[in-house]
Symmetry: C2
Subunit: 344 residues, 2 copies
């Protein structure tokens, strides 16, 4: 297990040695503890694509965006005229990842920027997956969808390349996890569509700002996740169970936690379940299906959130012919701010 | 102009004679002022499809629904076992419409039930339209999407038939409004997909509950709507301007109005613009592109919401080959409650 300092110099440990659990983490990253400096970006390739100045920094709230930064037909022409300016903190981390200098989990990197789950499917079933997301917005809140064959998420991070900018990917064939890779350029095809889905890091940061303890972060392990007996609403070939993450919350803080998370519907939003794990079909909290177990202490209640790993469980259950996802914990760093994922 | 009593006997006039404007309304409904009774439903065809008992009455919050009422594979088998129970108030109005006994606007019918905008497109561009909705959730908040060829919105109103249950439809060909009809059974095809989008009636009811005046309801006319210079984020062949509705709000109530409407993101949510119509490209508030003008009085600010007529303006601008929509003001009555459209 490695422990290193995030790029911004903050003291938040994103992956210290686990103390709450001695089970092996489901994340077995190739540890590369080098801390990238702010000045390495010039050496990286490919050359950065630049954003128009007015879209930099504070990107518009996702759900308030109605064409202010994009024209109906002229996105490229708009961007073509932009001057190069400094990339975002998230962009610098993407450059590090693209250059192979970071293969670890992404929790704690570029605080304030929203991270995202990745799902890549062929155009042939992109409609069914988008419909699945529409029908199951709590586990699958859509932040961006690429054009077929285009690896650039034009809305969420117009400088990025989704084939290279995540530290680790998973490849599923016929519902089986067949491969974990650090780059998907060799797998990319002209008919692929990538979906970026909001991630719990956004609401965890909000909980921490409010002084609510987040157990797995205290413990330095991954959040425990469980495949439930609750079924998602199906769409075409996508059918399967809801996966939830669990965080123990002091009983008196449960209402506040619900309020805080409700602000971020694009980051899974409010919990889906409070207490009573057995009614979700969870027999034993100490044996999560993904991630690491954490203790639920006296006076605490297990609180459950819809989880972005759901599409992977659905791919397995549906025996989906082909899908690429991020590897759990190894997310995509967007240029959207956490606050862009707030509905209000 | 007709004035009649809604089915529930409430005194709210849904379509009294306009008093604020002497321009002709964009809604030219065939006036049929007969007030349907509660006991006519047995005479109507087709026979009602029944809901499982547990989904009746209080339907689950749309965004909290994760398969509780539908199984992954067994929706039909679940429903096959259900016993017939009383239809909802919304369902009774749908029966009246289906039987041809109601062709008027739907504002004020079945209070408490959410009404919806309708968009029907061929499966060939259903993905692009769903993506357009994802990219423009304020004008196009998706409540339900049907399976290709299926005229039944299984989620929003499992007893309904979208070919017959709206009082009035519009048919667009190559971007032109070519026809307004009372039934689309003759136009239905096996490749058609229907989208139901949330409607402003939901937040208008919430504003009224909070004592906020809603000018066009006071005036008994349709809300004024304007095609703006703001462009929606395009998706495939769907590209065009944002349409907004306008309601004058006393300056001191603007913050409260924003708060109230923010609760209903699936009913267009918070306003997109407060004051300064010229920055939306609106030169003259007294000349709306759809609906009727209403006065903005001293001490009031014009407040603008994203509007569900946007897809129609986009169809026109994009010269879309084929699309069916509801006729403005003649909405689809869902079995969802207004409160199901609240995010919290």
């Amino acid at each position: 297990m490695r422990k290193s300092t995030p790029l911004d110099g903050s003291s938040r440990s994103y992956r210290p040695a686990p103390t709450c659990s001695d089970t092996s983490s489901s994340i077995s990253a190739s540890a590369n503890s080098r801390t990238p400096s702010r000045n390495t970006s010039k050496a990286l390739s490919p050359p950065p694509v630049v954003l128009p100045v007015k879209t930099r920094g504070r990107l518009p709230n996702l759900h308030h965006n109605l064409g202010r930064q994009r024209s109906a037909h002229g996105e490229e022409s708009t961007r073509a005229g932009a001057k190069a300016t400094a990339v975002t903190e998230a962009g610098r981390w993407r450059q590090e990842i693209r250059a192979g200098r970071w293969r670890g989990p992404t929790a704690g990197l570029a605080p304030g920027y929203a991270q995202a789950n990745l799902v890549v499917v062929p155009r042939a079933y992109a409609y069914e997956f988008l419909l699945f997301c529409q029908r199951n917005p709590k586990p699958c809140p859509v932040l961006d969808v690429t054009e077929p064959g285009d690896p650039v998420p034009r809305y969420a991070a117009p400088e990025a390349d989704l084939r290279t900018d995540l530290p680790r990917y998973r490849v599923y064939r016929d519902g089986e996890l067949v491969e974990e890779v650090e780059d998907i350029r060799g797998l990319w095809r002209e008919d692929l569509v990538a979906f970026l889905l909001g991630c719990s890091f956004t609401f965890e940061a909000a909980l921490q700002r409010a002084g609510v303890p987040v157990r797995h972060l205290e413990c330095g392990c991954n959040v425990p996740m469980y495949v439930t007996t609750r079924l998602c609403r199906p769409a075409g070939r996508f059918a399967g169970p809801l996966v939830v993450s669990m965080r123990p919350v002091p009983a008196e803080q449960v209402p506040r936690v619900v309020q805080i998370c409700s602000r971020y519907p694009l980051a899974h939003g409010a919990p889906v379940h409070v207490g009573a794990p057995s009614s979700l079909g969870i027999a034993d909290l100490s044996r999560p299906d993904y991630g690491d177990p954490v203790p639920v202490r006296e006076g605490e209640v297990p609180v459950f959130w819809a989880c972005g790993v759901t599409p992977q469980a659905v791919a397995q259950r549906s025996k989906l012919p082909w899908m690429i996802t991020h590897s759990p914990g190894h997310m995509f760093l967007t240029d959207l701010r956490d606050e862009d994922l707030a509905w209000d």
